[in-house]
Symmetry: C2
Subunit: 293 residues, 2 copies
Amino acid sequence: MTADKPTNNQACDENCSTCTTAQPHSVPKGLPLKAKIDVQHVILVLSGKGGVGKSTVSVNLAYALAGHGKQVGLLDLDFHGPNIPKMLGIEDQRPAVLANTLEPVHVTGNLAVISMAFLLPDTSTPVVWRGPMKMGAIQQFLAEVNWGSLDYLVVDLPPGTGDEALTIAQLAPNVRDAVIVTTPQDVAVMDAIKAAKFIGKLDLPVLGVIENMSGMSCPHCGKDISLFGEGGGKKAAEDLGVPYLGAIPLDPEMVKSGDEGRPYILRHADSPTWRAVDTVMKNLVAQIEAKPA
Amino acid sequence: MTADKPTNNQACDENCSTCTTAQPHSVPKGLPLKAKIDVQHVILVLSGKGGVGKSTVSVNLAYALAGHGKQVGLLDLDFHGPNIPKMLGIEDQRPAVLANTLEPVHVTGNLAVISMAFLLPDTSTPVVWRGPMKMGAIQQFLAEVNWGSLDYLVVDLPPGTGDEALTIAQLAPNVRDAVIVTTPQDVAVMDAIKAAKFIGKLDLPVLGVIENMSGMSCPHCGKDISLFGEGGGKKAAEDLGVPYLGAIPLDPEMVKSGDEGRPYILRHADSPTWRAVDTVMKNLVAQIEAKPA
C-alpha cells in the first residue's frame, strides 16, 4: 500500500506542517474524516440494555431543546428497530430528495428527524446489515441530509456499544456528551455502567443518568408497585460520579402515547408522570446548556 | 485473485461433482465454513426490540429442554449486555481452559453455558467491538468450547438483525429454527415482525411467537393492569402464519428472580405467572420436538 505516501518528489519526514502534499495524510491513519454537517453540539442517548426507554428520552429531549427555541435534529440510529417515526406519528412520511440531499422530516419549525424507517418500503422490512453498511448509512445521514444549521443533534442509539456508537463518535463533529438511560433492574444498571465506561473511553463526559420505568402506581387502587425495583439509576450515577437526572415512572398512559405517535412531553397533563418527565428534561437541558458553547 | 481456481491441469467446468480438486471451492464463495461443533439442533431466540425478555425465554427454554433429559448448551451472544450469567447466578464463575479449549460453565449435569460475561475482568467492562471482532468470537464460542455432544444449542441473540444474527446463522451447523419474543406494545410487535421476516430470509421456520410482559395483576388489589397492551403477540403470529405459543405476564417476582440469579421455571410455585411460563415452554418444546431429527 502506498496510498499514504506523498506522490511528489518531496521525501516524507513525517512533519505534515512543512509538507506540500500534506492534505491526504494529515488525518491520523485509520480514523475517518468527520462528516460535513453544521452542528454545534451532538448529544448521544444510550443505554446498555435494550427496551429501557432510550427512544422515549431522545424524543422528549429533542422536543425540550426545540421548546427552548433551538434548532434541533433528531437522528434515529437504531437500524433494526427504528421506532422514532412511529412514536412521533410520522412513520408514513418520506423525506424528499432535493439536489442529491435528503430533506429531513420536520415535526415542528425547528425540529427535524431522520430515521432508517423513512427509507424502508414498509414497517415490516428488516434491515439485515453488517457494521460496514451501517457505517456508510451513518455517513450519509450526517453529510447528505439537509439539516441546515443545527444547535443540537440528538442521536438515539441502539442498545450496546458496537458499530453504531463507535461510528457516530468517529464521524460526527462536536460530539460533546452523552446521557445514559436505565431501568432500576440490576441487569439494566450493570449494562448502563458499561455504557458510561464506553463514553469515558471516548473521552466524553456523561451528562447524567436517567432512571426510567421507576415504579408505577396501580391505576385501580393507586398503590405503588415496585416493578423493576427502585434506586438503581441513582446508585449508578453516584458510583460513576455523574449527575443523577431523576426518575420517570412506568405509566400505561406514556406507553400508549408512544404507540399512538404523540410525544408525551407535549401533553402538559398535570399527572405525576408528566411532572416527572418535565423535571428530568429540565435537569438534562440545564446540564446541556451549562456547557460552554 | 486465483484462490478459487483449480491448481491442477483440469479445466474448471463449474461442475464440482466431477472435479478432482473440488474440495477447496465446493463451498459457495463468500460464505464461511461451518464451525466444528457437535450439535443436532440450534435454536435462535430473537426479537426486534430490546428489553422484551429474550434472555428470560432463552434461560427457561434451556432449562425446559434439559428437564427433558437432553444435552443442552446455552450460548449468550449479547456481547454488549451479556446478562445470562447474572440471571443464572453464575456471573462470578470463569470457564476453565483445557488443552486450548474452553470448558463451558455447567449449571446442571446436562446444561452448559457460555457467555462473553465469563471472559471479562468485571461486570462493568464494556465490549467495544465492531462486527468482525464479534464474528471471530462467535467462531470461537462454537468451535473452541468443549460443548461435548449436544442435542440442542439455544442461542440468545442481541436485539435486531445485525452481525450477531447473521454470523451465527452462517457459522453454526444445523440452525433449524427460531423463536420470536415480543411485548404486546405496537413498536415491539412491529420489530418482532421484522425479526420473523429476517428468519424467513434465512429460509428457516419460525417456531412461534411468545408475548411477554402481557398485562399484570396489581400485587395490592389484584386487578388487571394493561401495561403494554395485550394481544399484539397473538396478532403478529396470525399475520405471520406461525404458531402462537402463549403469553407471559409481567410479574415483579419474575423480575426479582432474574436479578437474584434464580431461573423462574425452577421455582414450581403455583402462581398464575409460573403456570403461564410453564405452558409457554411446554408449547415451545412441543414445537421443537415435533421436528424430525
